[in-house]
Symmetry: C3
């Protein structure tokens, strides 16, 4: 069933609530954190692992977590693992194992989307910066067939594990990784070749960079046929005549990406997946709520099925044969 | 009759909807585009010719257009011709002819304001820039009496043609043209010397420039006695100590121009004309709607006539004798 | 009694209304100015002396002022004196006398908080700048024991005078003064050593500077135990890789300071004082009203006393013995 304006799942990311003590805190702390999210109007969360790593919780704590979300009336349609690249040169194996046990825990909670990526932990320069995207992060090795194929193989392994639970896997657009341009991201998805493994066109990751970038409309057009989950965020962006580039987090409606057009194009392309509101900078939760309310005004009031858009989200993923290749 | 908060015509500009195919599209496409404008709360449009050139439509298509706006309940109080300078060194003659046949079509639709200017098509550098105002555009020749007089003569010709239909002509403030400073703009209006030809103090055109600018309060004060139409938009503006200037599109309420003061001063000066919401960058339509709602809160709740402000918009235009001179 | 979301005093600063003629204008002008403030939803003002200097009004005019605020239903919980440093090398004595007679007038009006600081009149460079904080202002002499002690002595004198009326004195965080870093500000308060003299953690004054700054979370944490009044404002802030820093006034919810966290931390620390909304740039009054509405959503719906937070604001000020020392 296609979603409508009223029913579309729009989840809050939980980066703003991330604190070292959360993982081992009482369920009452989890409840207090999530109560903030509910209080600004969200009825769904993206279980962001910077806040809580459910793959590392025991069974009874997992039950506690489920109980907290149920009491608050919060759905959990998606889970995001961040900065745990399965091809990280140091921690790739650990990250794969972590991803797989997180997937199992997510399945137990009935979570339908696993969001992962190839971005690695922040570098020292990024951690020191006011905004981490103004400093360089780690880069995937361009033209390295072995590493590319490792990514394909491991994502495929994760994808198959997810498929067994009817779960989608979504790979996040992120600069300087094999998912760093729309064309590379699509190539990776095609090489993986599973209908439940698609893309998250997180355009904000790109438009915030202080360097020349790909046009967001082109990125989106390229990625939409493969999109099965979508983290939305926006930035102002100035490119001065002298070459100085400057960006700042902005509400969805005020930044350089036109989400009115972007959402309309996505729906036309058949997108019917979970939307996730992220916002860095200042009151991320407040702005995320503002974004959620704005998104609802852009979504179709009536059922999209009446417009002849495919009902089954799996139909929009590619099913082309696997071709392992080099980025 | 002076307008009130409830009745003031606030029109949406249509730049965001401009696409090459609109001109020859079915009326159903026009309706779909304008339905978006109505759906965010506008009850009036500025018939921006970047979207549709009614001067180049035949009679039956003009009727189709009228029918579309009537069905959507959209008033059309103004029409803007953009980048068709009547003193363009290459296309000036064509632009005059285009303006005149557009004026005729506008009259047929009962449109009361024709908005025109001296800015020319975007240069290659402007088209390549993320924001076109960060690159240089064409410049009118300073101190060239012949060109200045050509502008005066042609605007006077257009003004007289408009007057025959009871229509106002409004000339838009735009950098590097004879309408590029408030004093030059006023001098041009005085040289034209027609009571139905006035100014559009589109301050946003100036405050967004990445160079030193005239103070917006001074520009507005100089232009208000001649203002008969007003395209409103706003920008953030940073002037750093080292001389770096940076600007970004912003909602009316958040940019550097204080529209609370500006609207109050305009009403005190007797302004009773059409307001037009433009916004470049991101969701221009959404921000325009935000601006429209904000403007209503700034407009007088009761009739302004009770405050002794002139009722007749023609009274605010200059009627000084014509003095042709050099900018 | 601790405040709740509904009762918390949130005052509008009046900088936007400052004009030379206000001081000697009829009460009807005062009423017209303040009616604007009431019309956007404020029920309280900070009697900012850039708008009106009540210390220089006679008795009958003071009664007129009281009458105006009463008719408009505006509370006056605080009064701010700006740029009248009691250690100004030129006007320090005059500024002390002005502060003291303003305090007397404030007492007569029943105003509970006197907000003062060490910042001096804008320099010529600041007056010429688009945003005054992009140019350097006057600096208090670092390591000058006599001047530091003069500040302590004079603030203590003012504090004692205020205490006689049950009034709080709040010193404003401001760059390049003895109140320019959180640690120096705290040291000054401790040296003054009066329970009714505390701090105003006006973080916006710091985050808007185009230079490296102290982390706002650290500043706030250091100052909260001494906070007895709070001017809130926010800015976007970009620190580009090449070292270019750029800031712009922003609504509370959109700037770099996370006021959702800041307000929560303040309430946890026992803050129960007046909040004051300031905003420079564009429609300062409109954005202040936006900020006021946003703040209400962050404040506790129920009485904070139920959470075991001290009820008496004087309890949160330090009562340590006086130690005069050097900054």
């Amino acid at each position: 069933m296609p979603y409508t304006r009223e029913t579309w799942p729009i989840a809050a990311a939980l980066h703003q609530l991330a604190r070292p003590e959360v993982q081992h805190a009482d369920a009452s702390r989890w409840a207090a954190d999530l109560e903030q999210v509910a209080s600004v109007g969200f009825d769904a969360i993206d279980l962001t692992d910077s806040w809580l790593q459910i793959g590392d919780l025991g069974r009874s704590r997992l039950d506690e977590f489920r109980s907290v979300t149920q009491q608050l009336g919060l759905a959990v349609p998606a889970l995001s693992i961040t900065r745990r690249s399965v091809i990280d040169p140091v921690n790739g194996d650990d990250n794969l194992a972590y991803t797989q046990r997180t997937l199992e825990a997510a399945a137990e909670l009935g979570i339908g989307v696993l969001s992962i990526g190839l971005h690695r932990p922040l570098t020292a320069a990024q951690r020191e910066a006011l905004w981490f995207w103004t400093a360089d992060g780690a880069k995937d090795p361009e033209g390295d067939a072995d590493t590319w194929n490792l990514a394909v193989t491991r994502f495929r392994e994760i994808g198959k594990q997810a498929a067994a639970y009817g779960m989608l896997v979504s790979l996040e657009l992120y600069e300087d990784t094999y998912l760093g341009t729309s064309s590379s991201a699509v190539r990776l998805i095609e090489d993986i070749g599973l209908s439940n493994v698609g893309l998250d066109p997180d355009l904000g990751n790109i438009v915030r960079l202080h360097r020349p970038i790909e046009d967001w409309r082109e990125m989106l057009a390229t990625m939409l046929p493969y999109t099965n989950y979508w983290q939305v965020k926006n930035y102002t962006r100035v490119e001065a005549a002298g070459g100085v580039i400057s960006t700042h987090p902005a509400p969805l409606e005020l930044g350089v990406i036109n989400y009115r057009d972007a959402i309309r194009d996505a729906i036309s392309a058949g997108f019917n997946g979970v939307l996730c509101c992220e916002h860095y900078g200042g009151d991320g939760l407040g702005v995320s709520a503002m974004n959620m309310r704005y998104l609802r005004t852009l979504l179709p009031a009536a059922s999209v099925s009446e417009r002849g858009i495919p009902n089954d989200i799996s139909e929009i993923s590619t099913t082309q044969p696997v071709k392992e290749t080099v980025a």
